[in-house]
Point group: C2
Chain length 252, copies 2
Amino acid sequence: MVSKALSKYVQSLHQKKYRQRHGAFLVEGGKSVLELLSSDLETEHVLVTAEFASQNRAQLPERLALVIATEYELTQLGTLATNNTALAVARLPQEKALSPTLPQSGLLLALDEVRDPGNLGTLLRLADWYGLPGVVLSPGCADPYSPKTVSATMGAFARVQLWERDLTAWLPTLAPGTGIFGADLEGDNVHRLTLRPSGVLVMGSESHGLTPAVEGCLTRRLHIPRGTSGGAESLNVAISAAILLDNFFRNQ
Amino acid sequence: MVSKALSKYVQSLHQKKYRQRHGAFLVEGGKSVLELLSSDLETEHVLVTAEFASQNRAQLPERLALVIATEYELTQLGTLATNNTALAVARLPQEKALSPTLPQSGLLLALDEVRDPGNLGTLLRLADWYGLPGVVLSPGCADPYSPKTVSATMGAFARVQLWERDLTAWLPTLAPGTGIFGADLEGDNVHRLTLRPSGVLVMGSESHGLTPAVEGCLTRRLHIPRGTSGGAESLNVAISAAILLDNFFRNQ
């Protein structure tokens, strides 16, 4: 049985305004909730169906105020079309310090106005796959803690370090010599370069690419070669990022 | 002004059953409609707003029965949240012959039960980018002519050759020696191979990977290395396909 107060609280977290006010966000679906519980994030509430509870007892700590709910209740409370497993409320993590020398020891991903929650989620999943030290988001990006983004990360939300920075202010503060890479149709062919995973890879918005001021901060423009008889004008931002990251990590 | 009969016809094409009955499909949004008009596909109807018509007169052939519609009408007729540009009805293309030796001269993409229209669209856009000779879909894949897929292809629907085949029946008919590749966590590291774009690359469903019978047809299993500190268990199917295709095309 879900109390009225808890229902109201959970539903308020569909909106960014209330996520910020309460410092909390929603995690939906059994797989994502288990990822949350095995992470360093702080969990406020866990709501599960009786069936999910009995199947995952070992992973659902006793000490947590587990609320047993029906599939109907979970679906009503959340944003998924249906939810017959679990839903949780987690605390928004505190942003850690972002050292200007971090990009010397690993490759950071920086996202410039990536507005689609699905694309953002896929990019965070990629960052998790490659074990990047983190992702820097411009203020114009989709909210990484919106239910849609969290869901699209397939659990990566619980592991990937995030920072919000005005990229044109932040990029110039990096240590001199830091590679700042971006995709550009006129850039260098990535197949002819030997890239190593350090520096910053900046990816632009779905429809407009990098903003000119951010583009001005790049130290190297990278180009993904198209097939010789290829027709498409461009690739999706997450697809481009994946190909570029594979090119950085192939020479590890 | 859109006639009642045309409205009814256009709206029926939201459903696969009627697309098949009428041999036609919907193309929504100005960019996609212009891609359609510059392709070899046959167009039945073009509905445009007056503004879009005046901005694109050169690309909207006179001979076509252009219907001028309001933004409200286009939005009502289609599936997009809003449409203030154009909507068209195109004939479903005739499937061309699929020669068993085609994969010797180029790399075909084969999709095994890819059910998400957005993923399918992104995969077709990728096939277009690399100029693949075509894509073979198992009967369990999403409909490539659903409005969502067409929209996600970003114009590639008008250029990429498609075939529907039962993969377990089709793959064994290929010429002996044809490479049949698939992704597998236990496969060979793609960074250590020199792949060339010929053969068939088979990609499996979002949640289940390749069906066992299809997996049994592979001649080589490929593995995309994860970052040494990576956390994610898997990559999205379109992301994996992109990384693999880049590895096939880098040695062109």
